[in-house]
Amino acid sequence: MLPVSTNQHFQCLSISSELSSARQVEQRLITELRRQNYPDDYLFAVRLALEEALSNAIKHGNRLDPDKTVTVRFAVEPEKVQLIVTDQGQGFDPAAVPDPTTDDHLEDPSGRGITLMRAYMDEVIYNSRGNEVRMVKRITSPQSRQAG
């Protein structure tokens, strides 16, 4: 895991296309969330969304190609968490992924990752190429921050 850069808001990490590398990024984000006293339900939601995004980037984006990397940028701010995951694959059209909650796809063996990301995060936006996803999770109130 290589630190690419750090600015006032975003930490930027570049990882190899291995699922084990994803765990290191997740741990780093969780450590930062805990340091800033984000509640456990936020930790669960953000971790799940990051896991799904990294899994998609590594498996479907970079297709586990060891010569390709995944870049993760994240910013943990007082009012929100921002995540940006970029792979070096060809990209995809998220609108073309079937809705797994419809009766026709309810028992599909895969295809639930984006649905979970959208449910747990406040914003999930793909770039036009489909190889980068930006996600935002806001803290709703100071009270909810103290709840954790």
Binding site: F44, E51, G113
Partner: protein, 118 residues
């Protein structure tokens, strides 16, 4: 009597195969493939099993884990078996609701309630 496999703890109680997880997080694709292989192998040896998957202790699950459950349930159903789930933490159960899988699986609050429903 129980058999502890690398990622699963398997036991029989009243002819029900009880599956528990050694890990708190079921997210890794390799781990999920391993779990799937172990359970599929069990099913091939003993088709038509009544199986209770007890999620006690499990803190995190990924979409891949949900997908594995769907696939395994189909395989079990094809052999005439029955599957029930129990002890799913509320924040994980929420993922079942979001994906509407709570309509697919029979989920009980406790192992006791699940046993009573077989």
């Amino acid at each position: 009597m129980s058999e502890e496999l690398s990622r699963l703890i398997i036991s029989f109680q009243d002819d029900v195969l009880v599956v528990e997880f050694a890990d708190r997080r079921i997210v890794d694709h390799v781990a999920i493939a391993d779990i799937s292989q172990q359970l599929t192998s069990l099913l091939e040896r003993r088709p038509g099993l009544r199986i209770l998957i007890n999620f006690a202790g499990v803190q995190q699950m990924s979409s891949s884990a949900l997908g594995f459950l769907v696939s395994f349930a189909k395989k079990l159903d094809a052999t005439g078996g029955q599957l029930k789930l129990c002890n799913i933490l509320p924040h994980i159960y929420q993922a079942f609701v979001i994906t509407r899988l709570h309509r697919v699986f029979e989920v009980h609050d406790s192992a006791h309630a699940a046993f009573a429903a077989f």
